[in-house]
Point group: C2
Chain length 529, copies 2
């Protein structure tokens, strides 16, 4: 049995943790895949950190163009090897080849890398600011080695070796240590081989990109608080993320988390009356797409009791029952989904559809719809907000608009909040009251469409109050904003002109760089006074 090597200090080398190697599992069959990957011990993680710190020191003052070249070269290689990547990811995750992996997620991943390259080249993300009267100048600069922990549910777009956090950290000028998600090590290996080749072609220093496949929790905590680490990007479970957060916070290390979100969807009475069928169709599609394994999956619906509401719920339940059951990403996703549905049922939720694992090979759970009264929800508001990650959703039925508003008060922080309302304005007064309560609790407020689908555009916010993320001012998606997470503010006070970084010198280095000079945004040079 061959155990794949890890990439440390610019070389593929045998891991000291090869004896504790693991296989990925094909979730469609439940069978182990042949490839084998090591569990890296602490010494190996520390070696990564030393190489990454050396690389950070080398590239600290490089122009954005250098990182852009690497990102572009990597993106081209991914396109060239798309077939192998899609085949591997399909095998490791059970996600459909088309349209999901091949036509949606892979192009999105390549697009993110290229957007990040453009942002690195342009440099405006770093917010150069110059005050001429006092000769004080500042910009955001790279924070140093970034450890990226990717999630299970996006083998491409959030992969620790190619996804959003990777692209943002690299574009901001930082080395990356990728920790593969253990449910898709092969996909991560293929990305890493391409990233390494791209790094060599574009003359990045050894240690600029490194990969390990697994580490134990205690060593992950050591990594999170290590003095040589600059910051952490983590997407995954609330339990593991909270452990890393506690460790990083204790030493003031920036950690950017995406933890859990149930993405409440409100259907106001006018929308139920006017758009029940359209809603049922959109909701079922959104909730079951990718077997419901999206960070922005609509896990909670809140509406007001009426005969039309009952009809609508019946319609949704039928759609859930009739839809094919998708594959879940792993045995642990299945186990946690079963536990979460149990928690909901044990605290007053009634099953309208599904509720049980599906017999047979592979990891599948019936498409599951649950219902609970608003009173019951308020009584057990913490447990009834348990994230049922996968193809399950809970509907809260309030007796009145006031009760619907009261439910809102008990919501935790979420990535998204969605409101469907009547087209004729009949819900508008309630919308305003609801918005007052909902807006502060969600990162992205949506009207009349489902929260799944996260456009990679500058105005996107894929963030939100805890526990959706660790800090509500940052976003994981959306360039250039996502880059700022992996930076620190660096000010130059009376520093001699020849010693200033290019972006802070009098002359605008590219003529396209946006800078704030004496309080005004401009692309001009500093004008001598």
């Amino acid at each position: 049995m061959t155990v794949h090597p890890v990439l440390i200090g610019g070389e593929w080398r045998e891991s000291a943790g090869a004896e504790q190697a693991f296989h990925a599992i094909n979730p469609s069959t439940g069978e182990a895949l042949p490839e084998c990957y090591p569990l890296s011990p602490l010494a190996e993680i520390e070696l990564c950190l030393e190489h990454a710190a050396a690389a950070a020191s080398i590239v600290r003052t490089w122009p954005g163009e250098r990182f852009a070249r690497f990102l572009d070269a990597f993106a081209a290689k991914i396109e060239h090897h798309a077939e192998a990547l899609v085949a591997m990811a399909h095998q490791e995750t059970g996600l459909p080849v088309s349209p999901r992996l091949k036509d949606a997620e892979l192009p999105r991943t390549v697009n993110q890398l290229r957007q990040a390259a453009t942002a690195a080249r342009d440099g405006s993300w770093s917010q150069p600011t110059i005050d001429t009267a006092v000769n004080i100048r500042s910009q955001l600069e790279p924070i140093g080695p970034v450890a990226v922990f990717g999630p299970n549910n996006f083998p491409f777009a959030f992969n620790s070796a190619a996804g959003g956090d990777f692209a943002a950290a690299i574009a901001a000028g930082n080395p990356v240590i990728a920790k593969a998600h253990t449910s898709h090590p092969g996909t991560t290996r293929l990305f890493s081989e391409l990233a390494h080749a791209a790094a060599q072609e574009t003359q990045m220093p050894p240690g600029y990109f490194q990969v390990i496949y697994r580490c134990n929790h205690a060593d992950g905590v050591m990594l999170a608080k290590h003095p040589l680490l600059g910051a952490i990007g983590y997407t995954g479970s609330r339990t593991a993320g909270t452990q890393l957060k506690t460790a990083a916070d204790a030493v003031g290390k920036p950690i950017y988390l995406e933890l859990s979100s149930i993405n409440p969807v409100f259907v106001l009475p006018g929308a139920v009356a006017q758009h029940a069928t359209a809603f049922a169709e959109q909701f079922a599609g959104s909730c079951l797409m990718g077997t419901g394994q999206f960070c922005t999956n609509p896990g909670l619906v809140i509406t007001v009791a009426s005969p039309e509401t009952e009809t609508m719920l019946g319609d949704i339940a039928q759609r859930f029952a009739a839809a094919p059951v998708g594959v879940l990403l792993s045995e642990s996703v299945l186990r946690n989904l079963k536990l979460a549905v149990g928690t909901l049922v044990n605290h007053g939720a009634a099953l309208l559809a599904g509720g049980q694992p599906v017999d047979g090979a592979g990891y599948r759970f019936q498409n599951t719809l649950l219902k609970v009264t608003a009173q019951e929800f308020i009584r057990h508001h913490q447990l009834l907000q348990t994230e049922a990650f996968g193809n399950a959703s809970l509907v809260v039925v309030a007796n009145s608009a006031d009760e619907l508003l009261e439910v809102t008060q008990y919501l935790e922080g979420n990535l998204t909040g969605t409101v469907y309302s009547a087209a004729d304005g009949s819900d508008d007064e309630l919308y305003q009251q609801l918005e007052d309560r909902l807006r502060p609790k969600v990162g992205r407020l949506i009207n009349d469409k489902m929260p799944t689908g996260v456009a990679v555009v500058p105005a996107m916010n894929h963030g939100g109050p805890f526990p959706a993320t660790g800090h509500p001012v940052f976003t994981a998606v959306g360039i250039p904003a996502a880059l700022r997470r992996f930076s620190r503010l660096a000010c130059y006070d009376a520093v001699r002109p020849s010693r200033l970084p290019a972006a802070l010198q009098d002359k605008n280095p590219t003529r396209t760089l946006w800078r704030m000079i004496d309080g005004q945004f401009t692309q001009a040079d500093v004008v001598a006074k």
Copy 2:
């Protein structure tokens, strides 16, 4: 004995904690001042939070103009009552009336409030971003009630009821709960009376500005993690700040801290050879100004051994011995300074000047200069970075330039790092090597002048890596950047036009607001395509 009331929910009311009242102490005499202030119990803090949350909900969508009017009205009142404020602050802190309080700190405070008003009016701080093709729009919005814990050393410019965090939190549209520093409750009371009057005049809701004077540590922790609180601004000791940080971090509550900083100053060999006398004069002035009680006080000097260095240190020691000894802010500052100097001496530092408390009334400590070898510093690098807050500074003498660089590797995060180098370029190679190591560790890098003096300009960074602050991307001084700390990113996805905030509607509401539309900064309207 009359105990002053607290300001809660728009009314001055008797505190339930009047029985545990305290006096401020005049540090010049060590005697208690006549006025008496309560210790607020938890129920009172929770009442503040309820009123503040109600106020936050009311003002959430108000235009910046409303907050600007309040800030401007408050600034005018401060100017009108400058004499009383200066007299009170002098009595409570021992800081000199002129130029410090009257001619420097008070004008700076008023200037900060007016800069914050201008930023609120303009609105560009909130970074409105619009992507027309997908109709996604986002901006920074107020985060909700902000608790401000001010420090002892700036009774005006960082006062919890008038200083930098107050101004930034208000300008970003948030209610403030001010927790007075217990060493200057009277100054805080005067500010609070003026702020309250300004709030009434400008029709701010009750609970928009509130003040308490003291609470115990456990209740401070409850406040920091309370669900109704939006964020915390804290400037003060590392011990108390770390307790609040742990509580806030555990529930993902943004907390912005300014903790401790010893502000290393490097004097390179050419600078010693060419500018020793000028350096000695500037250094002694900076270190002893305000009895050394500045966040950016130069507490650590690092230089290379030579006969000229010995002469320069002798010169500095003479200046320290000859300079008048200032008053320290409180008995606890004196006690901590004595302890810190003891820690330095016990770990190899030799006294070149001072080292003892000054007998007599009031709180005074001799101007103190210490020296240690680089080897000794490296051996006890943690304890020898103990902040000796006050008129004391430690000089590290390296045997070589290489040893100076090695010392740099052991430095903790600091607000500032300063390098004095030769004018003729003879230190330039060493400067580059030093900058590589120093730049990532300090918020503000300074050339050839002392770190004291923090200009309130957009490019300022009064921040830095932990333990100087809690997060290296934020600054406590510098508008508009300081406002962003007290905000969250709010995205609107397909939200109907009539429901959008003014700054995100197609029409630029002021024509001066800077927005990023489809990736470009502009002050224009959204153009229909």
